[in-house]
Amino acid sequence: MSIAVKNLSFSYDANQVLKNVSFTAENGELLSILGCNGAGKSTLLRCMLGLFSAYEGSIEVNGKNIRSISAAEMARQIAYIPQSHYQAFNYSVFNMVLMGTSSQVSAITQPGNLQKKRTEDALERMGISHLSKKSFAYISGGERQLTLIARALAQNAKLLVLDEPTASLDYGNQLRVMEQAKSLIKDGYTVIQTTHNPEQAFLYSDHVLALKNGEVVGNGTPAEIITAELMQKLYNVNIEVHSLYDDKVRVFIPKQVIL
């Protein structure tokens, strides 16, 4: 499963948010998209998910332009894992995940045994089977994020798009969610995430895309992109980068702390 974005531009009225963005996410890689607030990350995700269509350029999933793919077909290719947020009505974890299977049945039928089996498998895969009957609003943020990932798995799509999956999680849950994302890569999934944490992106990604003011300023391996120069440019901060354990880890230190 691969996705290719070519010369993508998008504007809200007169305000151009994305300028000529091009990149490819190959099968089985974890791509992290970095950029400061307002850099156009969310807009980019929305275009890729087919939620926005008023863009210029093209987006291809497995070589097929997404404009020519129906909503139900799209759902079988790409799954969206939003940041968990307030919902008007509360459902059990099982039903939340089961909703992911909706495109597999016609509009006038209920999900059947096959969909329920897929839901159970997805919960099992994320290690949250024990939460099945619990209420989605009353589990922890990390568990909610895992539930939403399970929903994407039940959806049966191989390309997962995560919008800041670790943004509101405590440190332990951040690691658990990223470990799960990494393990999905081994199962043949392709994962694209936006993140505000370059250290984490370095630790877990295969590929990094850096956006600034809607333009690509870096596209390559974590080692090439997550450098002091580029991060300073990206976030307008003065930092020092230290490489540890044969460059398996990079640590960022704000300069004003050590001066």
Partner: protein, 340 residues
């Protein structure tokens, strides 16, 4: 962590409600100024299936079939429709406070009925005008919201409020110019809501749009679940949000218009019953939709029985639903326990 605790499973609640509805229907036949004891009633009903020697009076049979049956059916249908419309609007607008009159269907119907009374129309004309204006109002709301800028769901609700108030003003104006000795009381009485005019012919007639609206809502109920997640998530799950929402809104509007055109303004049912059902079976529309329909029918039948038996003269049902609905809703939202 709190588990979703339910003493009985949602499927069992549906069975219980069905039994409750059948019992309520049976008991409603016996209630009224002309006494029809349960024994006679059972035989009268049974005589339609198998031959029985008649030991009851002809009047009794006439009352059962020509007066009580249409009224009971109408109460059940209107209760079912208002409640189903409320729960559907809540889902597609992702708004727990949405009620059947959110898009102006009720105020349009009120205007149509008031106009019919002013023009001296028969009851059938009044019903027809109420139904027509109800649909015109919602059509107008759609037309305006299509042209408005901003989020479609929000503009839809806002234009609903605006058009509603416009038609309410129209109704007020009709009341102002109506003949105060007979037309004005008729309009006022209609606005308070009542099922007293139920005739067999009318019930059969209004059941058609009700069925047309209710069946898709039952069929699409799983999709309504997905719509409550919000547009982006529902779309990325592969649901055609625009189509489903439009179909649900049209169906909910149709059953609301059909209900208010025969019953007048009956408030609260569409808000209170869905919320009570959310407590009973949870938010899953697979169970919530049928539960709301059944409970709505039971509730309005119960209230209508009070309405026609409480005092010597009939108490308008709209007054009673508000008297029962409002305190009940306060109890519901202040009750300790898991918020839904």
């Amino acid at each position: 962590m709190i588990k979703i605790k339910k003493p009985i499973s949602p499927a069992h609640v549906l069975w219980l409600l069905t039994v409750l509805l059948l019992l309520a229907i049976l008991i409603s036949f016996t209630l009224g100024r002309y006494a029809v004891p349960l024994k006679e009633l059972s035989y009268i009903l049974w005589s339609k299936i198998a031959p029985v020697t008649q030991f009851w009076t002809d009047t009794m049979e006439k009352i059962v079939f020509n007066i009580r049956l249409p009224r009971i059916l109408l109460a059940c249908m209107v209760g079912c429709c208002l409640s189903a419309a409320g729960v559907s609007y809540q889902g597609v607008f992702q708004n727990p406070m949405a009620a059947p009159d959110i898009l102006g269907a009720t105020s349009g119907a009120a205007f149509g009925a008031a106009l019919g009374i002013l023009l001296g129309g028969s009851r059938r004309i009044i019903t027809l005008l109420a139904f027509a204006f109800s649909l015109v109002t919602v059509g107008l709301v759609f037309f305006i919201s299509k042209r408005a800028r901003g989020k479609h769901v929000l503009t839809l609700v806002l234009s609903g409020i605006m058009v509603s108030s416009l038609f309410s003003a129209g109704t007020s104006f009709i009341k102002l110019v109506a003949d105060p000795s007979n037309q004005l009381p008729a309009i006022t009485y209609w606005l308070m809501g009542s099922l007293s005019g139920a005739k067999t012919a009318e019930v059969e007639y209004i059941c058609i749009p009700m069925a047309i609206g209710l069946i898709p809502l039952i069929l699409l109920r799983w999709r309504i679940n997905v719509l409550t997640l919000g547009d982006d998530e529902a779309k990325s799950i592969g649901v055609n949000v625009g189509h489903i929402r439009i179909i649900v809104i049209i169906c909910a509007t149709l059953i609301t218009a059909a209900s208010v055109s025969v019953s007048g303004m009956i408030g609260w049912v569409g808000l209170v019953i869905p919320h009570l059902c959310r407590r009973l079976v949870g938010n899953d529309y697979k169970y919530l939709m049928p539960a709301s329909m059944l409970f709505g029918a039971v509730f309005l039948l119960f209230v209508d029985n009070v309405s026609r038996n409480l005092l010597a003269t009939e108490v308008p049902i709209g007054i009673l639903t508000a008297f029962i609905g409002a305190p009940f809703f306060i109890w519901l939202i202040t009750r300790r326990g898991e918020p839904q």
